[in-house]
């Protein structure tokens, strides 16, 4: 379908500008998808995703909550994917050449976000099925993955794979902790309040758990993080290209 529309309204013939611009944008977004398969097969990306999936399935079979497994698969898979899709110094330097072609930083960022989310969604689906979870759990995991992908993409474009490691550890250890739990453990203080605020505002798993029950607020929170992360990432793509050229 996209191929057909792209052919009809491609860059060579532009009968309707209204159609050709979004179709070209979509084509540029999908171009980033071409980068995923070689990475899955030729780098450690595929191995790490498999390892993560195996670990989560093992936890699920040992009695972990299937919804929790799906959320972890989404969030941790998204951080891992972001690191391999855009985290290396070479990837960021390569934006300098990419932006001399007819694409835009926003299209590149959207494409990288998509390239981060799709392997994550596959991992989440596989983990949910393996631990006997249901569709709402898988949806919640994918929504969590989409939100974390936006945040992780911006983080790795800003600070490289080191940021992904920090985010991965934070998500694994404190991702599912609700802010009320932090507020309750100690006396009032700036640091405790800051941590609670991050858990409240950030893409945290305790919130996306509610997606499984159809909570609109949680969905909107995830959508906002996915959008904000992608817009931030587009600015960082432009910056990376400028620094590299």
């Amino acid at each position: 379908m996209i191929w057909f529309v792209g052919r009809r309204f491609g860059t060579d013939r532009r009968p309707f500008l209204f159609y050709s611009v979004p179709v070209h944008f979509l084509r540029c977004v999908l171009a980033e998808w071409a980068l995923v398969r070689p990475r899955l097969l030729r780098t450690r990306f595929g191995a790490w995703l498999t390892l993560l999936g195996a670990a989560l399935i093992w936890l699920g079979l040992r009695g972990a909550d299937p919804l929790g497994v799906a959320l972890d698969a989404g969030a941790l898979g998204a951080v891992l994917s972001a690191a391999f899709v855009a985290g290396s110094a070479a990837d960021r330097a390569a934006f300098a050449i990419t932006l001399t072609h007819p694409t835009t930083p926003l299209a590149v960022a959207c494409g990288r976000w998509l390239a981060t989310v799709l392997p994550t969604a596959a991992l989440t689906g596989a983990c949910t099925i393996a631990v006997g979870g249901h569709v709402p759990a898988a949806v919640a995991g994918i929504v969590a993955g989409s939100a974390v992908a936006g945040c992780a993409l911006a983080a790795v474009l800003l600070a490289g794979t080191g940021a992904a490691l920090v985010l991965f550890i934070c998500m694994a250890l404190a991702g599912a902790v609700p802010p009320e739990a932090i507020v309750g453990v100690a006396e009032p203080g700036a640091a405790r309040l800051a941590v609670a605020s991050i858990l409240e505002l950030g893409p945290a798993l305790w919130r996306y758990r509610e997606v499984a029950t159809g909570d609109i607020g949680a969905l909107m929170h995830a959508g906002a993080w996915a959008g904000l992360g992608t817009v931030l990432a587009s600015g960082l793509v432009r910056r990376a290209a400028r620094l590299a050229s």
């Binding site: 191929w3 792209g6 052919r7 491609g10 860059t11 060579d12 084509r27 540029c28 999908l30 171009a31 071409a34 980068l35 070689p38 990475r39 030729r42 780098t43 290396s88 070479a90 990837d91 330097a93 390569a94 300098a96 050449i97 990419t98 932006l99 001399t100 072609h101 007819p102 694409t103 290209a241 400028r242 590299a244 050229s245």
Partner: protein
């Protein structure tokens, strides 16, 4: 009215460029030379639209840019890199044709299935050239694409750039390697401190002649206009005859063993322009 492929009109981009103007015709090759920090790369980046000039105007057809140190997605092969960029230009069969043509134009077909991270310097520059020509771009901005290569690779890439120019593609080429520039011909711009200090067609620049005089013993002081070399002295003829220059040597009581007239090399022209231009 002349239909230029690229024009820069009094472009300022402090501190690298200061009032640089140039016009590039379709099919023309302009070589930009100058010492490190002269503004060559900034000039190309401004022309490519990667850097906005503080003042002046840039008009350019759709340009392909090959940076000095090109970096590509490392896990992809050369063919996949080009296919990735080609997706921005077109779809389906046309995309495959675009990739095939780019591989052929840059002479990269033998290394098409080698990963970008494993490519040698020459093939990396070929890949940079291939992605720059992708999509039938009519202006190529090549930053040191012909520099630092072995003689065979340089000759081959020079021939490919000259072939592209012969098909109407305008080429703006920054080069440290003056031998490569002498090979591709065209016009030469000498930059120093962000300003054009000398410009002209290569054939006109290389028409300048130098008189070399071999002496029995080196003189303590060369005659006016001459400089001391390893074998004696030499001077640009610059309008005077060889006989007049030799007469000047004899007037200074120099024992001339032999003399010959040769053309100035591009390196000498660039060094002269650098040394004599007002700072």
């Amino acid at each position: 009215m002349t239909d230029y492929a690229l024009t820069l009109d009094e472009v300022c981009c402090p501190p690298a460029l200061d009032l640089v103007s140039l016009a590039l015709l379709p099919g023309e090759i302009i070589g930009i030379v100058g010492p490190s920090g002269a503004g060559k790369t900034t000039l190309l980046r401004v022309a490519a639209g990667l850097v906005a000039p503080e003042r002046g105007t840039v008009r350019c057809d759709v340009a392909g840019y090959a940076p000095e140190a090109p970096v590509f997605p490392p896990a992809l092969t050369a063919r996949e890199v080009l296919a990735y960029y080609a997706r921005f230009h077109t779809t389906g069969r046309a995309r495959r044709a675009l990739v095939h043509d780019a591989l052929e134009l840059a002479g990269l077909a033998p290394a098409a299935d080698t990963r970008a991270a494993a490519l040698g310097r020459a093939d990396l520059h070929r890949l940079a050239l291939a992605q720059a020509v992708l999509g039938g771009r009519r202006v190529l901005l090549l930053d040191e694409t012909l520099s630092g290569l072995d003689p065979l690779a340089r000759r081959d890439l020079c021939a490919r750039v000259a072939h592209l120019a012969a098909t109407g593609v305008a080429v703006l080429l920054a080069a440290r390697d003056l031998g490569a520039l002498e090979r591709v011909g065209g016009r030469v711009l000498v930059l120093r401190g962000g300003r054009v200090v000398r410009a002209g067609p290569l054939v006109a620049l290389l028409a300048e002649r130098v008189l070399e005089v071999i002496l029995d013993t080196p003189p303590p002081e060369p005659p006016p206009g001459f400089r001391i070399t390893a074998a004696g002295i030499e001077a640009p003829l610059a309008g005077r005859t060889p006989e007049a220059a030799l007469a000047l040597c004899r007037a200074h009581r120099l024992a001339v063993r032999a003399s010959r007239v040769r053309v100035k090399s591009l390196e000498e022209i660039v060094l002269d322009a650098h040394d004599t231009a007002p700072r």
